[in-house]
């Protein structure tokens, strides 16, 4: 059954993007279709799970069809069907999982269940081959993790957030600044025009690679309250720059310490927040004199997509790590 240049149809519906991709040999994108619901959720100020699930349901066959068409392949040419099993919103995940099971069964193809974070990490495999051991910093709306990999498919979480994920703190601070959803890109944009004048706290959590962002978030919100109570003008640019500076300093420093301690050959930055301009610049600057290769995916592979799920699935395909038809979504799926 195994072949080296396998073609995988991959599906990702863990949050608010209905995404389907066709990937060849684990690192070649034949198609990568993403139907985003961002505008739909904007009016609610965040992703509403039931709304997201309903939209996935309406989009799923259309997006699958477009992905096959763009890749110029038929279902018969597909070697396996891959899908995000979790973590994510359960109702959203269920649409992808049930669609994947149905088409895998209809065409008698092996089914591969992929961890969403493994997907984010493997988004980098479109850039260069992995060189182990490697360290991955995964930062998104739901995750802030430092993961060491000694080989393909092996994940050792050495640090994670104890409260808010970095992206979550961004969204909450953006909300407090009355910026439209999603807040991350807005704060990054404002921060470019401001300076770190507020010197918000940095949560270093001694002797640990864990993160904590809720104290920082609270400090920013309190500061805004104070300013509003005193009727002082809020310098959005400086607030944004100060907040972002605090997040970035901790992310970059802890990542550097971990990368050095674990003597890794590569650093992979993954997840939605890896689209952040300042994070990309600071990380490259920090590692510029080190022998560690820094890999950050191009912007279109930072946010949720199915190409990354196909890349991670390729490893599982060769390890013959297949799921059966009783596969279920797992919103709390552990790496």
């Amino acid at each position: 059954m195994k072949k080296t240049n396998e073609i995988i149809l991959a599906i990702e519906t863990s949050c608010d993007e209905t995404a389907v991709a066709v990937i060849q040999g684990g690192n070649k994108i034949l198609s990568n279709v993403v139907a985003t619901q961002m505008e739909i959720h904007q009016k609610f100020g965040g992703v509403v799970p039931e709304v997201a699930s309903r939209h996935h349901m309406e989009q799923i066959t259309l997006v699958m069809e477009q992905a096959l068409e763009e890749a110029k392949v038929t279902m018969e040419q597909i070697d396996a069907v891959a899908v995000t099993k979790g973590p994510g919103l359960v109702g959203a995940l269920l649409v992808g999982v049930n669609a994947a099971k149905a088409i895998a069964f209809a065409h008698q193809k092996p089914l591969i269940a992929v961890h969403h974070i493994a997907g984010h990490i493997y988004a980098n495999r479109f850039q260069a081959e992995f060189d182990f051991p490697l360290l991955s910093l995964v930062v998104s709306g739901g995750h802030s993790e430092l993961i060491v990999m000694d080989e393909h498919g092996s994940y050792d979480i050495i640090g994670e957030t104890r409260d808010d994920a970095a992206g979550e703190a961004y969204d909450k601070v953006a909300k407090a600044l009355k910026l439209p959803y999603p807040g991350g890109p807005q704060i990054d944009r404002l921060a470019q025009q401001g300076e770190d004048t507020y010197n918000f706290p940095r949560a270093w959590l001694q002797d640990s690679y864990d993160f904590s962002f809720s104290g920082l978030k609270t400090a920013v919100i309190n500061q805004l309250h104070k300013l509003r109570q005193k009727d002082q003008t809020i310098d959005q640019e400086n607030i944004a720059a100060s907040f972002q500076s605090s997040v970035m300093e901790v992310l970059v420093e802890k990542t550097y310490q971990a990368a050095t301690a674990y003597e890794v050959k590569q650093l992979i930055v993954a997840g939605g927040v890896s689209a952040n301009k300042e994070l990309r610049e600071r990380m490259e600057e920090k590692f510029k004199d080190s022998s560690i290769q820094v890999m950050i995916p191009p912007l279109y592979l930072c946010t949720d997509n199915a190409a990354m799920i196909g890349a991670a699935a390729s490893i599982q395909y060769h390890q013959e790590d297949f799921a059966d038809l009783s596969l279920n979504a797992n919103p709390g799926f552990m790496l």
């Binding site: 799923i60 049930n98 038809l325």
Partner: protein, 231 residues
């Protein structure tokens, strides 16, 4: 014509294969289990019992709501993905109509209903007679109390049927003023064999447009619309 029919609208799950209106195989489960886990293996099993490959199926019929949002999405996503990838015609049938159709050979008015929580129901009114089922009042979401008042005005006996065992039994006894029957287990559990026979002659729907009829807005959407009206 071989039909594969799927219903996961509520707690019961039912899957069947029929050929030329004759039931070949059916699996109906009514225990609190996970449809996402069980549906695909059930489809595989039902096909196997009918000695049929999925490639031999000519049409797919799915119960398209109302019902449990998650349950509906599991059944409809599966049905629609099968239909799309095998290029098969697909038909969506009201889950309430299917429930009423259990009483196809009765002569009279049937109110199938699903518990929609907090005193509400998904319901509609159907007339059954001589093997046919016809909709009289469209499927909707309202409080059981309002529904009973509406039915009281009609001045004819009603047969109530619901897969939610004993749901609203006391309310109906206390408030419905005319003759009625309350269908007890096990006729209240919708069966996919019946679903296949009421859907088989229905014109196919466009596969990409198939989506459950939830009959209720998401709360956040309802609130947002309300705000728009006020502004």
């Amino acid at each position: 014509m071989k039909v594969l029919a799927i219903d996961t609208s509520n707690q019961p799950m039912s899957v069947a294969v029929t050929e030329n209106m004759i039931l070949e195989s059916e699996l109906t489960v009514n225990v609190k289990r996970n449809h996402s886990l069980q549906l695909m293996p059930a489809i595989e099993q039902v096909l196997e019992h009918a000695s049929t490959s999925i490639k031999d199926i000519d049409k797919i019929v799915v119960a398209g709501g109302p019902g449990s949002y998650t349950g509906l999405r599991i059944g409809v996503t599966t049905a629609k993905s099968l239909a799309w990838s095998l290029d098969l015609p697909i038909v969506q049938v009201s889950s309430l109509k299917l429930t009423a159709a259990s009483l196809l050979y009765m002569d009279g008015y049937v109110s199938p209903f699903f518990d929609a929580r907090r005193g509400n129901v998904f319901t509609g009114l159907y007339k059954v007679s001589k093997g046919s089922v016809e909709q009289i009042i469209p499927d909707q979401n309202l409080s059981m109390q309002d529904w009973i008042s509406k039915l009281n005005e009609r001045e004819h006996p009603i047969t109530f049927i619901s897969p939610n065992a004993d749901a609203f039994k006391e309310e109906i006894a206390a408030q419905f003023q005319l003759d009625y029957q309350y269908i007890e287990h096990t006729l209240n559990i919708p069966r996919a064999g019946m679903l296949a026979s009421i859907g088989v002659n229905q014109d196919a729907d466009s596969v990409h447009l198939i989506a459950p009829n939830y009959h209720r807005l998401v709360e956040a959407e309802a609130k947002w619309l309300e705000q728009q009206k006020e502004e």
